[in-house]
């Protein structure tokens, strides 16, 4: 009965004039933040935390959750229209969404992506409500060495997926990203690595300048050649029926990716980015038409968007039950909850039992509104794109500069963005994917800290890596993926192919002989 009362209370709060205004404005702002390159969900939640300081607790929570959901979803629009993921979580969406936009299906792709985001969030909300204790237990089972392997697995998989048939380049990109994450003070001893006496580098390389540099800069520079003019302006109209048909056809994909993304979100430190990537990867693996992927496959957009938005709920599960954030945005959200007088953790249900129900109801309302507003904004954003790209891109460049600056308020970060921008151009020329690089930077410190902690606990004994099924699974997959790129594997593969060809030839010969004898008879 209490649950119903709390749910009723939550609806009553949301449907007051102030609640409705906060909901609409927050989702709208979130979508804009997610859409604009360089303005992330983390930044959106962080900025709004200050702005909602004078709000009542539930109203502030409503605004924060709404902006978080809006920002994660909004990232898909710039990923699809500009090939610049508005947030790192949308990097996987850009893989399929941008080629589809180039084919003149931008409107339909945004509709499907926003719909997938909605369903992803809804699936994760159901999971928050039903499976919080079970999933928290599962996430907690990951030991330090498994967290390290998970990070490594993420980079190797991402390198495989984004390299367009050349995993070696994807892995090089991912490991250079990992190397970049080592710049600054190490997390255990605060020992300065690769800082070369620079105070600015001691704090490490911020994610945002790298992201903007890698994904934004090459696109801006490409505009100078004028080669891409009008490439994305054709036929952005779409039929809602067709969009809903795609979503209906992908119901299993949505369900799988939703659960996958939610699980990834629930693992502390993994977050929406990996949720999106792994959902994308898992769907590509089971796809009947894998050859279409990376050339503009709508199923990929569905899986990536469902996965990254489902990770929102996943990331909130450990926040609510253990006060451990599942992602950077969730960490900021946790701080905001504290600021507004809520104490997430094991005692939450005892101290403020209504809080969980408030969160669930607010998330449901925010995701419904997100789909509606997302589609309204998409009409506007497609129009923005119909402006000559040679006029739009210099303005995007200024947004990139502001985006790089705003997190730490340092000119140094803008300079860093410029440097990574040059690197992004070189990588783009070499057809080296930027996404594994980004993931390397995101997961680098987690990998480092967990590996060293695991080895300290075992006094350097690496046998711990082979004692549990989770770690064995990761080791086998990583080793296999790397092995497939070695000359030994190529030789084995060639031999196997030759054997198959010989067997086929022998069969054909036997058939021909049989036919000849039949004819003679």
């Amino acid at each position: 009965m209490d649950a119903l009362r709390f749910i009723g209370e939550a609806f009553a709060i949301a449907f007051t004039p102030a609640g409705l205004l906060a909901l609409v404005l927050s989702v709208f702002t979130g979508l804009i933040f997610g859409m604009l390159p360089g303005l992330t969900s983390t930044m959106a939640v962080a900025l709004l935390t200050g702005l909602t300081y004078n709000f009542s607790g539930p109203l502030a929570i409503l605004s924060l959750l709404a902006i978080y959901i809006g920002a994660i979803s909004g990232g898909n629009q710039s990923a699809i229209l500009l090939n610049i993921p508005g947030t790192p979580a949308s990097a996987a969406t850009a893989m399929e969404g941008y080629p589809l936009a180039l084919k003149g299906k931008a409107g339909l792709t945004i509709f499907v992506a926003t719909g997938s985001s909605f369903f992803g969030t809804m699936i994760s909300i159901v999971c928050v409500a039903l499976f919080t204790p079970i999933l928290t237990k599962f996430a907690l089972k990951f030991m330090s060495h498994e967290m390290f392997l998970l990070a490594l697995f993420g980079i190797v998989i991402c390198g495989n997926l984004t390299s367009n048939g050349d995993p070696l380049k994807g892995w090089i990109s991912g490991f250079i990203g990992l190397l970049m994450s080592q710049v600054g003070m190490d997390t255990i001893y605060s020992y300065r690595r690769f800082t070369y006496g620079s105070i600015n580098l001691a704090g490490g390389i911020s994610l945002l300048p790298v992201m903007i540099g890698l994904f934004g800069f090459p696109e801006v520079v490409k505009a100078f050649s004028g080669a891409k003019k009008a490439a994305m302006q054709q036929n952005s109209k779409y039929s809602i029926k067709e969009g809903l048909g795609i979503l209906r056809r992908n119901w299993l994909n949505i369900l799988r990716s939703g659960i996958f993304g939610m699980l990834m979100g629930a693992i502390p430190g993994v977050g929406e980015d990996t949720g999106g990537w792994l959902s994308y990867w898992s769907e590509k693996k089971v796809s009947k038409t894998p050859e279409l992927w990376t050339h503009g496959c709508i199923d990929g957009v569905v899986s990536a968007e469902t996965g990254n938005n489902a990770a929102i709920g996943g990331a909130i599960i450990p926040v609510l039950s253990l006060a451990i954030p599942g992602s950077t945005s969730a960490a900021v959200l946790l701080a905001a909850f504290w600021m507004h007088g809520y104490r997430p953790g094991p005692l939450l249900m005892q101290d403020t039992p209504q809080f969980l129900y408030y969160v669930i109801v607010f998330m449901v309302l925010a995701s419904c509104l997100m789909w509606f507003l997302g589609m309204m904004i998409s009409k506007f954003s497609v129009k923005v794109l119909s402006v000559d790209i040679r006029i739009l891109m210099p303005i995007v460049f200024i947004c990139c500069v502001i985006g790089a600056f705003v997190v730490s308020n340092r000119i140094f970060d803008i300079k860093l963005m410029f440097v990574f921008g040059i690197l992004g151009i070189i990588m783009s020329f070499l057809k080296m994917p930027g996404a594994p690089f980004l993931l390397g930077i995101i997961l680098g410190n987690m990998a480092d800290e967990n590996l060293r902690r695991a080895l300290l606990l075992t006094h350097g004994d690496i046998s711990i890596f082979f004692t549990r099924p989770i770690s064995i699974f990761f080791i086998v997959v990583i080793t296999y993926l790397i092995f497939t790129q070695t000359p030994v594997y190529a030789r084995i593969q060639d031999k196997r192919d030759a054997k198959k060809a010989a067997a086929r030839a022998a069969k054909a010969e036997a058939k021909a002989k049989a036919r000849e004898t039949e004819k003679k008879d």
């Binding site: 070696l168 490991f175 250079i176 303005i395 200024i398 500069v401 502001i402 070499l430 080296m432």
Partner: protein
């Protein structure tokens, strides 16, 4: 026949692939050496817990990947071919008009980031840079066109200040 069904790699300049492989190899060796230095300097007795462990692992992996990268490139295109490709690429690079345009654009970015930002008010720096970029990319010797581009620069600068600084209260460089 044996390649049937195998995914094809995107085509790149093999000469540049070789350079990229060699540079990555050099970086990996540098990282491995540096990781030993970290271990020696961070006062930790055992390597497995030192600040040098992760860089060493990254260095080793990068070394392996870059060695495979170089080997693959040289297997498909002998060294002579690669060197010739590098020479051809250099000539194309110097002569290409698109490259010239991109370089001028990058110089404008550099001036904005390294010389203007933080030294003069943000709105002046932004207006000047936007005008320079728009005029450079869309250059036409027509007063009407120039006036239109300057107006766009002014409007965009105003919109950026309004949205970020005034509405979202985002601090500007």
């Amino acid at each position: 026949m044996s390649n049937e069904g195998k995914p094809t790699r995107p085509q790149t300049r093999y000469g540049i692939d070789l350079i990229a492989g060699v540079v990555t190899l050099a970086v990996s060796i540098y990282v491995m050496i540096k990781s030993i230095t970290f271990w020696k300097e961070d006062f930790v007795d055992v390597f497995y817990y030192s600040a040098g462990l992760m860089p060493m692992m990254i260095g080793v992996c990068l070394f392996i990947f870059s060695a495979l990268y170089i080997r693959r490139t040289l297997k498909e295109h002998p060294l002579k071919e690669c060197l010739l490709d590098i020479k051809n690429f250099s000539i194309e690079f110097v002569k290409s008009k698109n490259v010239h345009k991109a370089l001028v654009g990058l110089v404008i970015f550099w001036i904005y980031i390294y010389l203007l930002l933080g030294k003069i008010p943000f709105w002046i720096a932004t207006f000047v840079t936007l005008s320079a970029l728009l005029l450079f990319i869309n250059w036409e010797k027509s007063f009407k066109k120039i006036a239109k581009l300057l107006l766009i620069s002014a409007a965009a600068t105003f919109a950026i200040i309004l949205i970020f600084q005034i509405i979202f209260k985002v601090p500007m460089p």
